[in-house]
Amino acid sequence: MSDTSATQRVKFYQTGTHTVGNRLLDEADRTVQASMERANAITSGHRACQGCGEALGARYALDSAMRATEGKLVAVNATGCLEVFTTPYPETSWQIPWLHSLFGNAPAVAAGVAAAFRVKGREDVRVVAQGGDGGTADIGFGCLSGMFERNDDVLYICYDNEAYMNTGVQRSSATPPAARTATTPAVGDAPGNVFGTGKNLPLIAMAHNIPYVATASVANLHDLEAKVEKAMGMRGARYIHVMVPCPLGWGSASDATINLARMAVESGLFPLFEAEHGAVTKTNKIRHQIPVADYLRPQLRFAHLFKKDRENTESLQRIQRMADANIKRFDLLEDGGSAQ
């Protein structure tokens, strides 16, 4: 393992891109999706939109957790897109026991499931809870913090697409500044979402001193899988925050999901790191920091920042400063790498 990545000793990039080529890796290092033995927690046929980052992230995360637990896995789901699009009954995509209770209680329900298996002497059965950014950062925040504080034996995965997409793209506390949503329209003197102080869930999770916290991206699936696998090798409360672009909510092309996720990372806006017991242990380094404008421009939710001849330089600069602050805070730049 290198110090800069959870998975790769050597990085292979396809020519002209930063895409890691699966076929260039050793058999053992290839993603489980490339294997005939893939765990297949969520089967095809679900109702996610084309290019859905959450469907991709959840599939890789849960398959990895299944592999790590040899299939002895139960998933608890908060209300949200993932819950709705995977269970259009009488069909269900879930090949593992799956329970949905409410929007704001997935961490507590998962804690109850884990307690039941513990009391029955079945600690070999592991529990993953999951929700979107609304279910995690807003309405489920109290239950999540309680689960962290008790150090319940649950891995909670947040699929962050930066708004309430299931109800029609309303702002959540994870929505970035200036982003247009149905409740932060791009009108007036300060169009889009407010420039607040932000609610950084991974850092809040770290403040609970839980065994493991990580951020991950659908642009780096090997890294995501490795982090889930690592989390499943530990006991106690664990948290993984996965950035998952949403073509519908972001106003982006459905084939741009991976690219946007990658640009979020490479601009510094979404740092990839791991932390154990409250301290950062690893960060995924950036070779060349790209300008935030490159990441924002393809998304219609930021279109008001790029009006012809009237680019909103002030807002762009503020967002650039956020990215630069992350670069500094998490020491994201590779040795000899270039900043903006």
Binding site: Y89, A116, K120, G142
Partner: protein
């Protein structure tokens, strides 16, 4: 075994004998002593094989119980008042998912104004959430109902609330026959779930259900309650065989033979009502009472039968439906659709106001003389009401009502 105990402690001991596997605790007066008691029994090892989880809210308490029950564990929690309302969404969810959780309610008023004392506003607010609601008349019955509740819940896969009057029962020290572990084991079989999260047989629980099946799911929930109407008396009979006590069941008729005036009530107030019935019978009034033990399912037939022949019914209620009157009254009237009997409501004991035999007697005598209004508020301070109405008529910025009434009372005017 006969013991001199606080009601909460007796309930805690009994719950422990029911061998719950996951117990979730969050403090709220007047329920707190119950979960404290269970917690102490877990910590000391008396109750083994139980996960006692201190959660961060009532919403989490029931949510943890939901997860535990869905994974096949016998789950228990207790709450009251604001706590029950804070978990309201999960209350409906547990019933909709058909999870046989047992929950004690230490009945308490709902704010504002904030009030820690007893009435039935809390469990009434969730009366139609799909849970069975059993009301205990005494601490002995509270103890017994918990044992019956686990069996009832698990046979039907339906959650059960055992409603126990806060302070009046939860904090009263009295002689209680607490069962032994052997007795409870003989009565309560191990929990065999009808649905369970199991990796060897995976399925999804909690999927979206549309108009094509939602009514049927709801109907089956209703049908479970109708089944409970038969099962509750059956379980009470088996309980009597094992424990030798007649307890539980649908309704508790008291001196109803040839009664012209019939009193209907829930919970501990039935003790006072029975004393009043005795005294009024003594002085020649044909009066009797019916304690409703099973409020959900509501025993329409049993009540209609018990009330048959009465000239008037008085429902004494520890809750209020503002703009309507009594909540229990509406249900009692439903049971009398085929009998033309006038039904009066007496709203009593809100926010812990003592319900005295003297006041009840006066109200019942008014009724016997056909002078009781349809909705009567027992011991209402009319002077305070008139003063407050007049004060707020005189000035627009009249300020907060509750505080103004208290200030007037404090000044001794």
């Amino acid at each position: 075994m006969l013991k001199q105990l606080e009601g909460s402690v007796a309930i805690a001991e009994t719950v422990a004998y029911c061998r719950p596997e996951v117990v979730c605790a969050y403090p709220i007066t007047p329920q707190t002593h119950i979960v404290e008691g269970v917690g102490a029994l877990v910590k000391s090892g008396v109750l083994s094989n139980c996960e006692f989880i201190n959660v961060e809210s009532e919403f989490a308490a029931l949510s943890v119980a939901i997860g535990a029950s869905a994974a096949g564990a016998r789950a228990y929690t207790a709450t009251a008042s604001q706590g029950l309302l804070f978990m309201a969404e999960a209350v409906y969810n547990a019933a909709g998912l058909g999870l046989p959780i047992v929950m004690t309610i230490g009945n308490r008023a709902i704010g504002a104004p904030i009030n820690i004392w007893n009435d039935h506003s809390d469990s009434m607010a969730l009366k139609d959430a799909g849970w069975i609601q059993l009301f205990a008349e005494s601490n002995q019955e509270a103890v017994d109902l918990h044992i019956q509740a686990f069996r009832l819940a698990e046979e039907l896969s339906c959650p059960v609330m055992v409603c126990v009057d806060g302070f009046i029962l939860t904090h009263a020290y009295e002689r209680i026959d607490v069962p032994t572990q052997e007795e409870v084991d003989a009565f309560l079989p191990p929990f065999e779930p009808v649905q369970v999260l199991d990796p060897t047989e995976p399925y999804s629980i909690g999927a979206m259900v549309g108009p094509e099946a939602f009514t049927e799911v709801r109907y089956l929930g209703h049908q479970k309650q109708l089944q409970a109407l038969h099962l509750i008396p059956e379980i009470a009979k088996v309980f009597q065989d094992v424990f030798g006590r007649e307890t539980g069941g649908l309704v508790h008729p008291y001196r109803t033979e040839n009664a012209e005036t019939m009193i209907v009530a829930l919970g501990s107030i039935n003790g006072t009502i029975k004393d009043v019935v005795d005294a009024m019978r003594e002085s020649g009034t044909a009066i009797g009472s019916i304690g409703v033990c099973s409020f959900r399912p509501f025993p329409l037939e049993a009540l209609a039968k018990a009330l048959d022949g009465a000239k008037r019914v008085i429902v004494v209620e520890k809750s209020l439906a503002p703009g309507l009157g009594g909540m229990l009254t509406s249900d009692v009237r439903m049971s009398l659709l085929r009998q033309a009997i006038p039904v009066h409501t007496v709203i009593a004991g809100l926010g812990g106001r003592p319900v005295t035999g003297v006041s009840l007697t006066a109200a019942f005598e008014l009724a016997v003389n056909d002078q009781l209004e349809d909705v009567h508020f027992l011991d209402l301070d009319h002077a305070a009401i008139e003063h407050e109405v007049e004060r707020s008529r005189l000035t627009r910025k009249s300020g907060p009502t509750a505080e103004n009434i208290l200030r007037r009372l404090g000044s001794g005017v």
